[in-house]
Amino acid sequence: MTQPVPHTARPVRRQRSASRSGVVLRRWKTPKGDLIVSLLTPQGKLRAIARGGLRGKHAGALNLFHHVGLQVYARPGDELAVIQQASLEGALPRLALPERHPYAHLLAELADLLFQEGEADEYGQQAFDLFAGALRGVAHHHDPEWVALVMSYKLLALAGFPQRTRMCARCGAADPQHPDPFGGELLCGRCSHQRALSPSSLDFLRGVVRRSVRENMDHPVPAEDRAPLWLGLERFVGVQVGRVRSWPHLHAG
């Protein structure tokens, strides 16, 4: 009597199902009423489509910034994985508050730009934890602006875009202290005509990557000194990473 081929040797079907869990970075409506979402997961970024999502049972879970568990189904050759089931694992309703909403957008837009699809490298889990923590901070911390600033610099560094703070970005001189109006890094006094940054701002820029999130949060730069930091960040991202549409709306709330 012959037994069938054992299960492990059986060919995988053309289609693959997978479970993923992540935070919704963006969502697009297609004209047909489908929903395309981009998520950050511990295994990297994922884009998937929920058919009929705008009127379907997934619309609730697949909201911006929601942490969702997905069952996706991808056939080789399909451009996008199809979402079969979606369940909410966590929501931060306070991100809709006017003083917090724009920062959540900035962080999600940055994350969407910084991480590529299918890149499941060793930093995946770290990136996911950092981003999820950033959203939690923006939702609940009394100073969401500071959370956004710290976490933006942290995300940039993790994605391989650390700012140079030890040498002038133009001439290479040591100990630069002035903002670079074009590249967003630091310039020496000879290369820049702008006023030097405040000591606490300089300390922040030089330490943000190396220090823990907690340490950074505990030593905020005074609110009135943050404008040059935001400006530097915007320039740096614009030059190194790409266009971020949230900038003009950051201080609208």
Binding site: A86, P98, P102, H105, P248, H249, L250
Partner: protein, 198 residues
């Protein structure tokens, strides 16, 4: 085989319409080819007429062909109620429900910084002068995070102006069983429960 340029042009224009992919555009083009000339001319004329005659109402930003839209110029509508919606199509949806007799204000979008939409991209500054004591403003933006954020933003602006501000209800759609509702909606439906009308 090379396709006739006017056929190619028509397919290209049609496939720019939302929800119409290249295959549907081609099918539409062949369908139009088979129609009598009058039908095509009527469609073409309707397109041009709509574009030249329609504009947004200067008060509520609904679509109209008159100076004021049909709602704004109707004195029988409840002048103490303004329903704020995202798009002109939402006005039609609410009118069709038959449950609303007040005025409207069409934002033409929702706050969405990552898409470059802030307050100044929406018709918000034109809403503020309409607010006053005795007015109820119903915020009927969508129930997405962006719709919620827009509602909260407007509530902060409108309440100091003396208007009463309310939000359209979240809950189960009519005709639904609990098992087909998602958890988020179920939670909102429980929180929003109302004393039953006997």
């Amino acid at each position: 085989m090379k396709y006739p340029p006017s056929l190619v042009a028509l397919i290209r224009e049609l496939s720019r319409l939302p929800g119409i992919g290249p295959k549907s555009a081609q099918r539409l083009a062949f369908h139009l080819f088979e129609q009598p000339a009058e039908d095509i001319e009527r469609l073409s004329a309707a397109l041009l007429a709509a574009k030249s005659e329609l504009h947004t109402c200067p008060v509520c930003f609904n679509i109209t062909d008159a100076e004021l839209c049909d709602v704004c110029s109707d004195p029988s509508r409840d002048q103490n109620l303004i329903c704020v919606v995202e798009e002109p199509g939402d006005v039609i949806a609410l009118e069709r429900s038959g449950e609303y007799q007040g005025l409207y204000h069409v934002l033409h979008g929702v706050l969405s910084p990552m898409n470059g939409v802030g307050p100044e991209q929406l018709h918000i500054k034109e809403l503020l002068p309409r607010a006053r004591e005795g007015l109820e403003v119903i915020l009927a933006t969508g129930t997405t995070v962006e719709g919620d954020a827009t509602a909260l933003y407007l509530q902060r602006l409108l309440e100091p102006l003396g208007a009463e501000v309310s939000r359209i209800a979240y809950g189960l759609q009519v005709g639904s069983a609990l098992e087909y509702a998602d958890e988020v909606t179920l939670g909102r439906a429980l929180l929003g429960r109302q004393k039953i009308r006997g």
